[in-house]
């Protein structure tokens, strides 16, 4: 087989693979977008081409979403819970990660791995005893229960990520600062944190998106609509008995997904490198 032919075939296979995967990944979202603007009569017709607007597009699904449900309230709840969880996580994980990276000779690596392994304890095992804990503290049916519980999985992961980030900063910088008169905390504040600002931002984004995406705890701990987050509210409140409000469901799903996807794509490289750093030791 000539080199030219082989190269063209290779190129062709590459584009074919790219197109297929992109289609597989993105088509559901395109479909969500189309469904959002279709009239219900248009959707519920077997003979219609689903990709064409056989009846003119409409905004009534969006209207139902924003006025007939508490969608805006859910988005606000989700953002609020996410922000609080991020603050709590950073306050606890940054010192922990720094301590494991710098101040723990010998046992630091093992303890870091042990902490990371607690991230792998699944919510589907813990949700039952945690619901008992939550009702014991009196936080059931309130999104404050999520603020309490979400750090239980963001802290382990973020501590491990931060440990990797801090280790990659040379220790001589802090030692130089301490020779010049800082104590350890001062060195942390003045030297390490500004340098690792990008890594910190990545961890913030990651913790935020983890808490937005979470479903099991939110479903278990909260039932009043006003307290729900968007990840639970859309699948539960837009399905009333037997009736699925598909247009609004798709609209809600799409609106809640796009910002998260945008954030992820901006910061992807960094936390993949943090995630895989451990594998190369």
């Amino acid at each position: 087989m000539s080199l030219e032919l082989r190269r063209t075939l290779g190129r062709g296979a590459l584009y074919l693979s790219a197109v297929c995967f992109t289609f597989f990944a993105a088509f559901p979202f395109v479909w969500m977008g189309i469904t959002t603007f279709k009239r219900i009569l248009d959707l519920y017709n077997i003979h219609n081409n689903p990709f064409l607007f056989n009846l003119p597009p409409t905004l009534e699904n969006l209207q139902l979403l924003f006025q007939g449900t508490m969608f805006t309230r859910w988005v606000a709840n989700t953002a609020f819970v996410g922000a609080l969880v991020v603050i709590i996580t950073m306050l606890i994980a940054v010192p922990a990660g720094y301590s494991l990276a710098r101040l723990a000779r010998g046992w630091g690596q093992q303890l870091g791995i042990a902490i990371f392994l607690t991230y792998l304890v699944p919510p589907s095992l813990l949700f039952i005893p945690l619901s008992r804990v939550v009702s014991g503290v009196g936080l059931q049916d309130s999104f404050w229960s999520l603020v309490l519980v979400y750090p239980s999985f963001t802290i382990p992961f973020c501590t491990w990520l931060l440990m990797g980030f801090f280790k990659s900063i040379p220790g001589e910088l802090e030692e130089a600062a301490m020779v010049d008169g800082c104590n350890r905390l001062g060195a942390l504040r003045r030297i390490v944190l500004p340098i690792s600002a990008a890594g910190l931002l990545t961890v913030v984004i990651f913790a935020f998106t983890l808490s937005i995406q979470e479903f099991v705890y939110a479903l278990t701990f909260i039932s009043p609509s006003a307290q729900k987050t968007v990840s639970v509210g859309v699948p539960t409140d837009l399905i009333r008995g037997d009736v699925y409000y598909w247009g609004s469901l798709m609209a809600g799903a799409l609106i809640a997904s796009i910002p998260v996807a945008a954030l992820y794509s901006l910061f992807l490289d960094r936390f993949v490198s943090g995630l895989t750093a451990g594998a190369f030791k």
Binding site: L14, Y15, A18, F21, T22, A25, P28, F29, L43, Y44, I46, G68, M70, P95, A96, S99, T118, L120, P122, P123, S124, L125, F127, I128, P129, L130, S131, V133, S135, Q140, L148, S152, F153, I155, T159, E175, M178, R184, F215, V216, T220, P224, V234, D237, R240, G241, V243, W246, G252, A253, A256, S257, A261, Y264, S265, L268, V272, T276, A279, F280
Partner: protein
């Protein structure tokens, strides 16, 4: 002479400061340890203890009953099918994800027109909240208006009167669940594998080229072995996510036609929280007293200061 004296003094100063860190290290670590022990460790122990007790939702007391719950669970056919399903879903999804993930990572490694756009679009399934992606697929697999069926009919893979029930027939439902699992995990594993691929030193690849290795030889003899630690990380994450995932089955099929697509976690949710009673493969808990109090509240229309009664005017409030 003078330099070494200065150097000694400097090292002494640093060492003096470092000695004070012996207390600081554990102190900075303490809040994280406390949180993890309190909200992961203790609930885990509570879960184990509950599984050995006769607590039910609503009961205020726990009595130790040994392994009764486990024997009862093993007797239950739904539990056994849930167990098999969990293993099947995880195993098949992981194999597909690793194979397809490798292909996707190799694709993304090359430069071509539109690669940046493709990277963003490929990430969407992983970035979107899981429940919302599942809802999208539920609509795509609808019993009558499924766009998947429509497209298959349009290219004549299906006949004009074929309406395969993707969520209503046990085998198809399992295929559907596996498809959505793969759809969701693929971006993550592809990105991790891509990170691994880009870290393979160029000299190795150049040496392979000099020795005349073809594409497949290079793939199987060099790339895959060198990627093994990364593949392990991706497989570990993927397996744990898939094995314990509750939201996908709950939203897509609710356990499926005749409980045939339940996995362990969704079955545990069904028995423990929704039903609130009876034997289970997972410990029940006192969650139901809290939920029962609110269940009564759900029957009255939800009032909010802004929209008044938001749902009772539309359809049946449950």
């Amino acid at each position: 002479m003078e330099e070494s004296a200065v150097r000694d003094a400097r090292q002494g100063a640093v060492r003096y400061r470092l000695r004070g860190d012996r207390l600081l290290g554990p102190l900075m670590l303490a809040p994280a340890i406390v949180y993890i022990v309190a909200l992961v460790g203790l609930p885990l122990l509570l879960a184990i203890y509950l599984s050995l007790s006769n607590a039910t939702t609503g009961s205020q007391t726990l009595g130790y009953v040994g392994l009764t719950n486990f024997f009862r669970a093993i007797d239950s056919t739904i539990f056994r099918s849930a167990l098999t399903n969990t293993f099947i879903f995880t195993f098949v999804s992981e194999i597909l994800v690793i194979v397809l993930g490798n292909i996707l990572a190799l694709t993304l490694q090359q430069k071509f027109v539109g690669r940046a756009v493709m990277r963003f679009l490929i990430l969407l399934p992983w970035a979107a909240p899981f429940a919302l992606g599942a809802i999208g697929w539920k609509w795509m697999f609808d019993s009558l208006y499924s766009v998947v069926n429509w497209m298959l009919r349009a290219v004549h893979i299906l006949g004009p009167r074929d309406f395969p029930q993707w969520l209503g027939v046990p085998t198809l439902a399992m295929a559907a669940i596996i498809t959505v699992h793969v759809w969701r995990m693929l971006p993550f594993s592809a990105v991790v594998l891509l990170a691994g691929l880009t870290s393979i030193p160029q000299e190795v690849l150049d040496a392979a080229d000099v020795d005349g290795a073809g594409f497949f030889q290079r793939l199987f003899h060099i790339l895959l072995p060198m990627l093994l630690p990364i593949i392990t990380v991706a497989v570990l994450f993927g397996t744990i996510f898939t094995f314990t995932d509750l939201s996908l089955v709950y939203i897509l099929t609710g356990g499926g036609p005749f409980n045939s697509t339940h996995v362990l976690s969704s079955w545990a949710f069904q028995v423990g929280i929704i039903a609130g009673a009876g034997s289970a493969d997972r410990p029940r808990a006192g969650a139901a007293p809290a939920r029962r109090a609110t269940r009564g509240r759900r029957r009255t229309p939800a009032r909010s200061p802004r929209s008044g009664c938001s749902c009772s005017s539309r359809s049946a409030c449950f």
